[in-house]
Amino acid sequence: MSSPMEVIVSADSAGQLWNCAVFDLHTGTNLLSYRGGNTSSRSLTILNGEYILGAQLGKNFINVWEIQRKDQLQQKLVCPGVVTCLTASPDGLYVLAGIGEAIYLWEVPTGNLLSILSRHFQDVSCIRFTDDSSHFVSGGKDNLALIWNLASVVQLDSSRVSEPRHVLSRHSLPITDIHCGLMGPQARVATASLDQTVKVWEISSGEMLLSVLFDVGIMSVTLDPCEYWLFCGGSDGKIFQVSLCNTNQCRDKTFQSDSEGNQVLKGHMNMVTCLSVSMDGMLLLSGSHDETARLWDVQSKQCVRCISHKGPVTNAAIVPAPANMFLPDSRPSIPLPRFSRHLNPSEQGEGAGPGGVYLRLGPNTQVPEETYLEKADKLHSLMCAVTDKSVFGDGENTKVRVSELEEEVKTLKKINKDLYEFSTQLLTKPT
């Protein structure tokens, strides 16, 4: 059996059978499960495709598993406080954790605590990275969402207080979930809040683009990869699907009789706490406090599968399957160091340790990737080439085409002339 491309990773707060489990996306079979403890909401993350990190519910440590050794807890990272949310950067170099009102940033290769950001006034409820790890967005129970630039946060000069790049302050109740779109710094961010709205923002400018008002508080939000649809999980168990593009197709649908219920996915009995869309945008995963995770077909809006848990689902996500997951013999390329709990370890420990930052490029970032601009150029030239060919064609084709057209013009002229003569005859004919 070939290993699946995408898998479901989910966790519940009871943790009776497992802490977190991996399911096949298409068959729903339980592939792996990791044991020990349970995980609090929005705090399960895969680090660099080699480790699974999950913050223990109500305790001040993070459980770490090596991704191929499912039974054995690799280690526990002890943190300064109860971790409310956790995420690892897509390039596997940084780990962010919301602990109380502060955000802690660790560098993975060394385990150094690089920075403590305390700009939230109340507990941080959610942190998300952009797909290129250049920015991250944090949302808190103080109604604020902050957009941070990672480069400006990681700095040696500890005297300067780092400021967020944008402060998004239009929500009026605590923020419950954040989704960060693709396209790096040009991405769009969706924030959900208890004030019954979901708002879409631009990372680059910090401007709000869209605000959708619902009639219940929204507990989770996600966008499909094309950003055609906005999925919002309500506190009453409904999932709302908002179309972000106004195509003719949508307009036609309003004339159908069932348009009323068409855009609401009903099935959960209690608040929907997590949402995730598969890579191809066809399947939607939702986890709820009614102790089930459901898989929906986006096109038909039908529930395809229901995966029951033993407690309220705290984390559920569709992720690309890491390569190491199904190879029991593989080993992580780097051992995970112990995360330090203080800002400057050199001051306490070795004393005269060098204050430099250890640099290690991620495996996929060693070859410089094309920037988005270059990609766009390439795409544009490709598209132009297609249109050039179809419209103008090569040299020979053109000649043939031109002669064809000339002939056509000739025939048309002839027909016109005939018509003219005929009509003049008809008119001038003496009656």
Partner: protein, 935 residues
Amino acid sequence: MTKRKKRQDDFQKVKLKVGKKKPKPDNATNVNFRSKSIRLPEQLKRDDSGPTTHRQLNIKDLLSQLHHYNSNVKQGALVGLRELLSAHPALVEQHVSSILSEGAALFTDKDAAVRAAAVKLLRFVAQCVPADHVAPFFPLVSAHLTSAMTHISSGIQEDALKVLDVLLEHYPALLAQRHAVLLRNFLELISQRRSGGAGGGAERAGKGGWALTITTTRSITAQQWRLTVLLRLGRFLQAVVEERPEEEGVTGGSGPDMWGGEKGSVTPLDVSWEENILGKGGVQIYENSGATPTARSTYRLRPHSEPGTGVSEGLCSAETVQGFAGTLVPLLLEVWVEAAAGEKGQAESGQLLSPEAMALMFQILTILQLLRRLAPQRDQQDQLDAWFRTYYLNDFKQHFMRNFPYGTLEVAGHKRKGDAKRMRQQVMSGPVAGGNVEPLALNVTLCQVMVTLSLRARDHLEGQDADWLGPIRGFVRETLTNGGKLSSRHLGALLEVVWRMVVTQQSRVVTEELLQAVYAQYQQRNLSLPVRTLLLRFFSRLYIQEHQSQPHIARSRILARWLAALPVQLVQLGGRNPQLSAQILQTVQSAAAWGNKDLLHSLQTHACSLYDPQEGCVVLLPADSQQRLVQILYFLPALPVDLLACLSQICNAGRVSAHLAATLIRTVHLRSPLSGWSNGSQDMAVRDVDYLSFLFSTLTGFSSEGLSSLQHADDEGLLSPSPLSPLTVFATPLEQFTHHWDVVEEVCHCLETLGSRSQCFDILQNAIIKNLCGLAVVPDCVCAAVLRCVPRLLDPSFIPGDSLLHFLSECCLSMLSLLLQLEQSARKRDAVWEACFASMSTVPRLLRLVLQSLHVGELCEEELPLLAQILSLLLQHTQLRNQMVANAAVLQHIIQDLTRCCGGKAREQWLSDLLYCYTVTVAGHRASMGLRDMY
């Protein structure tokens, strides 16, 4: 012979004699006549080609007369044009090009009367032509204006300023585009360029070799002339600053708009789910990034004006502004010194000024202030501030601050002849003199100018600027605390000064001192609304924007006190001023969300009066504020029992919308320990017992007092109890019923998600038995709510108690008979219907109880049809059919009784209907059973 004689006759010699008068020759011209010239002010011939003036001149004649050599004709033509155009406004649109080009040429006319008429014409035209129509001709007009301003004759220069006034009034944007030329002209009006090198060693290079000029030929004094020019310059700069395109100008500058809301370049799109689901207007965010495409594109195919005078070399960078300021500021300083020195002779101390000098000084400061705002971007503004500081701080300190708080000189007593004359001139020149500038305005503006020079605390040494910041601080404090009422304009400026000082000084002492002064002003009674709003905005912006990054502001005790006082003010305001309340609420919400301890404490204390169901803010304010208040509820540290009682009453009082009531219930739900959302760290605000009793009292919708008072009231709306309706039903108004129905829906949902169903139902059962079962009079909405709630919560494994079932059956029967008796709206009927059937189909014993309680023998004759109707309704309902069959024995008994009762008479319609239903349901079922038995 004869011929000869005759010849002599012809040429007789006239003899002239001495002493005699010389006779007149025959051919002498008689010059004794008087001639009169013929003037033709009116055309004799009537021209029908177009409208004419009263002199029968049409517009072509008038325009051609503008070139006449005679100034009287020109003036007459100008007057005529004005008359013609005011009579026929349509002509203006047609001829605006020629009118402007011909008329503008007369700005430089030699004759003062012609110029005055030309200005009048311009004023008239400007009133009726919008700016975009004039734009193509504006280069020409402004060229004429420039030539008039730089004219050698002083009279023409003076009148040019009047032209400028008109243009500034009507076309500020167009004029502001041409600032590159005009600014230089202003300089030339009051000064002259010094010939190279003659300036002398004392002059700094920055002065650029300009010196003030004094011309003695003018009709007014040099000082007055300068005032006139500076006034115009100030207005012009104001126009330049205001007409700057918005995109660049995100300046935290000044002015009243500074306290306004933020403006984004993208207009966000607001959608509500109900609208969206109906498909009205799809969401389009990716085409144009926002709700509307940004129409204010700065891109133009062709520049407005020819290169050289355009915006390109305008004041769009700090360097150009510096260049201009470098010329202007020394001149302004000289004018200041002159004005100050002129006063020294009269008054011994320099603090008291004559109104004229004060106006002049005020203008100088205004111009300085505007110069700073000319820089388009914020960082450039800072750069400019630093530049001013390095070059002019000492000058400013020396001249401006020496006599700092200025006052007016009392000149009422000795009015000399010259003074009187001067006064008359001032009156004649009208607004030119700038009126009377109050000393307060002068002082405040001075503060504003000086404060911009102060440095950010990061790079300044302690006490560096104390020598001049001290007096300013003292003045500000004095002005704010001396109890006087300030106008909103002055107060706005003062608050700006305070803001700047608080932000730049970064010392706690200064902050406390200044904020104390502002707070003293804030605490005054009877402030006018704009002033109050301004102060409120100042504080709330200080809190929301600055306290995050600046610890000295965050720790300010005054700010904390102000915040703590807000809930009290909200309570006191009540519903009197919704705008102020909205402003306060915004701040309160932010502070509550950010966990400000003082505010939360105060909010907790006053929560009960805020959320009072009778006269609390939550019912008095408009819907937006109500929503905010409900949202604030989320952040309260604790929700005690009395507050919950208030909230429950609010939900049912009908003064907040059902939607908001649902939000309120959900908010309380989130704060309860049973919601399960909050992960751990936050301690719970509501005890679960309190929460459940809140839900129950919201479910019933009537307080226990209300219910008990209903028991004794003998109201018209009551239906007396009868065997068919064992409970007396109090019919609530339709509006209240539907509102309560929506609320019940939300409560049911909350109860459903609580967790263990059977326990939850047990609690509910106890509550119903305890509070409702003994009642004789029950409102219909309570019945409906109970009937609605029970089936939704009932766990199949749980067996409800007898007394509950008994009560339910009574409710059910009463509601059914009420339904049939009263003319109700469709919504209410459906709701009651649904509730009854749902409860009867989920609780099988309930149906049996209902049927058993029907005793035909006790009914009077009128009630029989009603009973039959109820029964047939029950029989018709498909979901109940099986259960009806199960109770067939009871049913059969009832129907037999019923037939017997009216057996004597002819069979009535209702009876045959009922029998038909019965046969179809029961007999049909039996038949199918029988069939099944057979096979």
